[in-house]
Every structure is written in structure tokens, then in C-alpha cells.
């Protein structure tokens, strides 16, 4: 006998100017508790990109197969998730290489990273290719409020010459909707918040400050709906709803704090209004919102450009006043190498916190992380020599119980990274024969 009341997956909490999508509740599964049906939860795909290559000495685990002993220095922050991550070695982006186009490895490697094609060397007449995330967004994104989300942390221009004749459009974007249309990342947490939960276009600072003064939580606008929904949910779903709404409130608090701080501090450079001064806080805010977007199935496809390729951003917050890019041309000087490693570790610490959060959120019989494929990597391996082979690539998450973690897999030399993307697209339900310079699909990721 069917007794459970079911809830539509598209149920939202609505109020004046606000609409909050909801995470997957047990009540959303068909009657008779189908939350345990494998493959029911959506699969998500995200790409987290860090610039200027990595210190590969501290990235690659010593041996193939299951991780044994301590993880390398840069990966140590991921220790609690060692069974959820896989290091993929020897993947190459040939189209990031000069081929016939001379200098400009930073521009090329980022433009080629998800598109799999060699970007045209130009800063006025840009051309790359449709990126793999957008292929997925085009084919399956229609089911979600946002076919894809593009997120970043560093304010970056979209025009001009950013690397030896390569447009800033190449170094400052990961996602390409078409050959000529990159999708710039959202940098301002407030803009992302309002994109996700309503409020329309970004306001100017004065108007925002005025509104902030009287601002209530977005949750206040949906109180009636929330109360009604709570009455329809079982105890487990009610707890899940409370946790979810609390996480949104927490994001609001972080945003308010950042905006309050920004009102008091002149950053000395143009900066979106809601961007926290602290890098780690900014990282957390943006990834918290991506988490909510995944949780509520607002989007299944994300590109996250941590900082733009070729960036010379200093990391004073960890005692490194030198620019990141100049440091990576360390010429094997130990002092400079150590600083590069510390920046790499710092990025990984933030990323690991995000992954822990994704792992902490239950979804059916699994977790959000278990139902995701989050790639962490860079378009260069050795930033000193600008090498495009053996890129640092880590995939975190179970891909909906299809990926076995806890190990390093080394592929044959020069294996195109596009092969990985084809395998990921398969798992997203997008089966295409050719992508970029792929020569096939990668093997060995599967559980078996």
C-alpha cells in the first residue's frame, strides 16, 4: 500500500522576489522509498582550475595503484578524502603547446584546457572551441535552472593582450559557449547569490548599502512556504531542510560580513562590492554557493577558475608578497620553489574544505560528492618550463558510484586530457564520439 506523500523535484520556496530551490528529499523520490534506487540522484561535473602549473615534485604519489603511506605535500589537505580522489598521471594538452604559434603558453593552455583545441593567437579576433562543460550544459542543462555556473575568484578583464598576443579572454575564462564566446566567471559572491536566489541584476554600491541597512534574510521572504513544507515532510527531510536553510543563512552572514568589511576598507583597486578581502573567505563563499546549487539541483555543471592563468597575484595572507607567476619561474631555486609549493598547498587547503562539505551532505544512499566528479588541475604541469604533458589532474567524487578512488592511475605518455572529458561526459549522459583532440576514452576509472 502506498502511503507516502510525494513531493515534486521542482518544488521551491517562494516569497516576494525570492525563490529557493530545494535539495533532494526522500519525499521527492517516487513512493515506496526509491531513494535507495541507484543512479537516481543527479550526477554533477565541476572543473577547478589553478594557474601557473604546480610543483609536481609534491603532487604525484610515488607509485601507481592504491595510495600507500603519506600523500605528497600538496595533496595532504585531502587526507580525509583519500578514498574519494584519484590522481591521473600523464594526461597531456597538446593544443596548449606552441605548435607553430610561438610564445604564449599561459594564454594557450587555459584556452585549450576544456576546449581541446588550439586557441587562435589574437587579442582581437578570438577563437577557441565549445568547452566540454558547455557541451554537457547544452544537452542536459535544460533540466536545471542554470545549465552551468561559471565562478572565479580574481577580478580579470576580458579584453586586451594578456600573454604574448593572446587575448585575456583565453587566460581569464574556462568555459566557452561557442568558438568565439567565452563565459566569464562570476567573481562577486553577492552577484552569484542573487543569481541563485533572485533579486535580479547587481545594484550599485550606494543602493546596495541602502538596501543592506533594511535587509532581511532571504529566508524571511519564504517563511510561509517553509512552514507549509515542513508540515509535509518526514523527520529526516525536516532535518535536511533545516540544515539546508541554515547553510543559506550562513552564506548570507558571510556576505554581509564581507560587505561590511569592504565598506570600511579601501582595497586600492577596482573590486566587486561583495568580494571578501580574504582569499580563503572568498573561496569558501563561492564554493558554499556552488554546494547549494548542487544540493538543490540548480545546476549540475560548474567551472571554477580559482585565479586567472598567468596571474601574478601575491599571497600575503600566507606571507608570500611575491607574484605567483614570477615565482613559478623559479629556475629551481629552493627558496622560490618552496613558495610555489606553499601557494599550491594553500589552494588545496581551501579546495579540501569544499570537498569535505560536499562529502558531508547526504543524498540518497550516497553524498553530493559521491554523485559528483570534481576535477582539480592546471593547464601547465611545470610552470617553470611551461610543460603541457603529465598535467596535474585529480578527480574527486564517485561520479554516481562509477569511479573508484583512492589511487593513482598512470596513462600512456601523451594521452590527451580530452579523453578524460569524453569519459566524464559519458557519465553525465552525454555520449559523443569526438571531442577536441581526444583519441578515445580513458580506461581504469571504473569501479571494477
Amino acid at each position: 500500500m502506498i502511503t507516502k506523500k510525494t513531493l515534486s523535484r521542482r518544488t521551491m520556496l517562494r516569497g516576494a522576489g525570492a525563490a529557493i530551490a530545494l535539495p533532494m528529499f526522500d519525499a521527492m523520490a517516487p513512493a515506496m522509498n526509491s531513494s535507495s534506487i541507484p543512479g537516481k540522484a543527479p550526477i554533477r561535473m565541476a572543473f577547478t582550475y589553478v594557474p601557473n602549473g604546480l610543483d609536481m615534485r609534491h603532487w604525484t604519489p610515488k607509485q601507481d595503484g592504491a595510495f600507500v603511506g603519506e600523500l605528497p605535500k600538496i595533496l595532504k589537505p585531502m587526507e580525509s578524502m583519500r578514498q574519494d580522489m584519484t590522481i591521473l598521471s600523464n594526461l597531456t594538452q597538446n593544443n596548449g603547446r606552441a605548435l607553430l604559434d610561438g610564445a604564449g603558453d599561459h594564454g594557450r593552455c587555459c584556452g585549450a584546457y576544456l576546449t581541446g583545441v588550439q586557441p587562435r593567437k589574437s587579442f582581437v579576433d578570438i577563437k577557441a572551441g565549445i568547452s566540454c562543460d558547455q557541451i554537457v550544459a547544452n544537452q542536459v542543462g535544460g533540466q536545471n535552472r542554470f545549465p552551468s555556473l561559471e565562478v572565479g575568484l580574481e577580478d580579470a578583464r576580458q579584453a586586451g593582450d594578456c600573454d604574448s598576443g593572446y587575448s585575456c579572454a583565453y587566460t581569464n575564462n574556462l568555459a566557452w559557449r561557442s568558438e568565439t564566446q567565452p563565459l566569464p566567471p562570476v567573481l562577486d559572491p553577492r552577484a552569484l547569490f542573487e543569481r541563485l536566489f533572485g533579486k535580479g541584476a547587481a545594484l550599485n554600491p550606494e543602493e546596495r548599502a541602502r538596501q543592506t541597512k533594511y535587509r532581511r534574510s532571504i529566508l524571511d521572504f519564504v517563511t510561509a512556504d517553509t512552514r507549509k513544507l515542513q508540515g509535509d515532510l518526514g523527520p529526516t527531510d525536516r532535518r535536511k531542510l533545516d540544515e539546508y536553510l541554515s547553510s543559506i543563512r550562513e552564506i548570507e552572514r558571510q556576505l554581509e560580513k564581507a560587505e561590511k568589511d569592504n565598506a570600511q576598507v579601501n582595497p586600492g583597486m577596482p573590486k566587486p562590492y561583495g568580494v571578501p578581502a580574504d582569499f580563503a573567505e572568498h573561496f569558501k563563499l563561492m564554493t558554499d554557493m556552488i554546494t547549494v546549487a548542487f544540493q538543490a539541483d540548480m545546476s549540475r555543471v560548474v567551472t571554477f577558475l580559482v585565479t586567472r592563468e598567468g596571474t601574478s597575484r601575491p599571497y600575503r595572507e600566507i606571507g608570500i608578497p611575491d607574484g605567483h607567476h614570477p615565482l613559478t619561474h623559479h629556475q629551481n631555486k629552493q627558496e622560490l620553489l618552496d613558495k610555489v609549493t606553499r601557494i599550491n598547498e594553500y589552494h588545496m587547503v581551501q579546495f579540501a574544505k569544499w570537498m569535505e562539505k560536499l562529502k558531508s551532505i547526504k543524498e540518497g544512499d550516497s553524498t553530493i560528492l559521491g554523485n559528483s566528479m570534481i576535477v582539480y588541475g592546471a593547464g601547465l604541469s611545470d610552470g617553470n618550463r611551461h610543460t603541457h604533458e603529465n598535467l596535474p589532474v585529480m578527480i574527486v567524487g564517485g561520479g554516481g558510484n562509477t569511479i573508484k578512488g583512492g589511487r593513482r592511475i598512470t596513462y600512456r605518455k601523451e594521452t590527451p586530457i580530452s579523453n578524460l572529458y569524453l569519459s566524464m561526459m559519458d557519465r553525465m549522459g552525454v555520449r559523443i564520439e569526438h571531442f577536441g583532440d581526444a583519441t578515445g576514452r580513458i580506461d581504469g576509472l571504473n569501479l571494477a
Binding site: A98, L100, D101, G102, A103, R412, K413, E414
Partner: protein
């Protein structure tokens, strides 16, 4: 790696073979590196269709022997190109041509010829490697030499966009056997195809006596050590394929009328002696460490280009 604005570099040569089946292939590879050392060409890809790790290892050993001359890529001095290897065919046995040189030891017990190929992951997919090498060549400034079955090149043709790439980049494909040439023609290989006539190889034999003469000057030479396994006057069809690919205007060669897309490579009998001398000179040439092609640094205005002459 090539940079625009530096002028066109020498011809880029892709060499695909079933290395290990005949000593002739090893000699052909040494001729190719000899031409590379003279800056007449650049070896841009090495691959084997012989499904044997030792085949790839031997190719790498030869590459390391000529290290520095093998690639114009920045920072490539002392590094060899990855070796492409067919991996989905029937496992081929290891021949004495491969096991002979690769099992040699120095007095201290270490291998005479070091290599880094112990597992399949130490090699590259041959077809992807060849395709990638071609992407880095100027239009009509590449040649492909095939000294063995067409396995790898047929797979190149199966990659999307490869036919247009080959048509743009490859001046000619030179096959050492008519069968491979016909297979590739049938599969739609888009560049002109030259097939070495069987008579060319048997008309000029590479003398085993070079082991006691020209090769004797080297304390260790991987091609000589492969040759030593079964010394004999070796046919030179594959050497002709290499030499024609790089020196198509050499008077030693002539081409037949084309049949379909294929033209036969023929020999001018009067040039046999000169041709043999060229083979010997190139195959036994000393490795030449070539400086990588790199954009020259900006001239420092404060420093004169040429140091002042000593008084």
C-alpha cells in the same frame, strides 16, 4: 616546437616502423638521425607497430644515442621524444636485433644502453603521437616514412580531422613496401605516396664490413650492436625511403608514372656507388647536439653583439 618569424625550419620527419624485424630498419633510423644531425631534417616522431616493449625501448635507445639532435623543442637537449607503440595487436616476439643490444652490459654490470621503457605506460599511443607531431609542422614541411606495416598510420587516418591535417602538412609519404602503400591509398591517405620498388633495396647492400671500419670508431653504437647480431650485407630499401623523404631531388632516385596516387621509387643505376657512400656516411655519423630552436633573446643595447677584437 617551431616559431613563426624564424623562417621555415628543416623538414619534420615522422618515422614509423616495425623496429626489430630487420636490421635494415635500425640502419634506416640511423640514416635519419644522420640527416637530422646535418640539419637537413628534424626527427619529430618515432613509433613502432611491432607490439613489443623492446621494440619501443630500442627506438628510445637510438634516440638517446643521438640525444640532443632528436628534437628541436625547447629544453629538449638530452631528452628524447616519447616513443609511440601499437598496443592493441598480437604481442610480437622479441628478436635478437632487439635483445642483443639491449642485453649488453658495461663492465660494472649496468646496461650499455639505458632506456626508460619498462611498461606500456612508458610509451605513447602511436597514432595520437604522430597526429600531434604533425600539428606542430609548417604546411607541406613534413614527410612520413613508413618502414613496416601500415597499422599505426591507418589508425592516424581514423582520428577526426586527420586527413585534412595530413593533406596540409605532409609533403609525401614514403613506404618501404608496396603493400602498405596500397593499404594507405585505399584508406584515403591524402598526400602523395611513394613506394620503394623492391629492386631498390636489393640493388645496394649495406656492407657488414662497416662494423670493422666506420662503426668501429664508436665505443658503443646501438645500431652497430644490432647489426653485429647477424652481420650480413643488408638490403637498403628502408634507407632509400628515408633518404628520398629528405632528399627527393637526389639524382640517385627516379619516380615512375603514378598508378592511382602511388609512384614507385626507382634507382638510377649509375648512382649506386654514390648512394652507398651516402648511406654509410649518414648511418655512421657522429651524434650532433643541435641547439634548440628558440626565439633569440632581445639584444641588450648596452652590450655589443660581437665582443671587441683583442688588440
Amino acid at each position: 616546437m617551431q616559431f613563426r618569424g624564424q623562417g621555415k625550419p628543416s623538414l619534420g620527419v615522422v618515422f614509423d616502423s616495425d623496429m626489430g624485424s630487420r636490421v635494415e630498419t635500425a640502419l634506416a633510423l640511423s640514416v635519419l638521425y644522420g640527416l637530422d644531425g646535418k640539419n637537413e631534417c628534424r626527427v619529430v616522431s618515432i613509433s613502432s607497430s611491432r607490439t613489443s616493449l623492446l621494440s619501443a625501448a630500442y627506438c628510445e635507445v637510438v634516440g638517446r644515442f643521438y640525444a640532443g639532435a632528436v628534437s628541436g623543442a625547447i629544453f629538449s637537449i638530452g631528452r628524447t621524444l616519447p616513443v609511440g607503440l601499437a598496443a592493441d595487436g598480437k604481442i610480437a616476439g622479441d628478436t635478437p636485433i632487439l635483445t642483443g643490444p639491449l642485453s649488453l652490459k658495461k663492465p660494472d654490470g649496468s646496461p650499455t644502453y639505458e632506456h626508460g621503457i619498462d611498461e606500456l605506460i612508458d610509451t605513447a599511443e602511436a597514432h595520437g603521437l604522430i597526429r600531434n607531431a604533425l600539428t606542430a609542422q609548417h604546411d607541406q614541411n613534413a614527410a612520413v616514412v613508413l618502414a613496416g606495416p601500415a597499422t599505426n598510420l591507418l589508425k592516424v587516418l581514423s582520428l577526426p580531422g586527420s586527413k585534412a591535417l595530413i593533406a596540409a602538412k605532409v609533403k609525401h609519404l614514403v613506404c618501404s613496401t608496396p603493400l602498405a602503400a596500397k593499404e594507405l591509398e585505399a584508406a584515403g591517405w591524402p598526400s602523395p605516396i611513394v613506394s620503394v620498388s623492391p629492386s631498390v633495396g636489393s640493388a645496394v647492400l649495406f656492407p657488414a664490413a662497416t662494423l670493422e671500419k666506420e662503426f668501429a670508431a664508436f665505443p658503443a653504437h646501438p645500431v652497430a650492436d644490432a647489426f653485429r647480431v647477424q652481420p650480413h650485407d643488408a638490403p637498403t630499401g628502408e634507407l632509400a625511403a628515408v633518404l628520398y623523404a629528405v632528399r627527393p631531388a637526389d639524382k640517385a632516385f627516379a619516380l615512375s608514372e603514378s598508378v592511382g596516387k602511388i609512384r614507385q621509387l626507382l634507382l638510377e643505376t649509375a648512382e649506386k656507388e654514390r648512394l652507398l657512400a651516402a648511406y654509410i656516411e649518414l648511418a655512421t655519423a657522429k651524434p650532433v647536439v643541435r641547439q634548440p630552436r628558440f626565439r633569440p633573446p632581445a639584444v641588450d643595447a648596452k652590450k655589443p653583439d660581437v665582443p671587441p677584437a683583442k688588440p
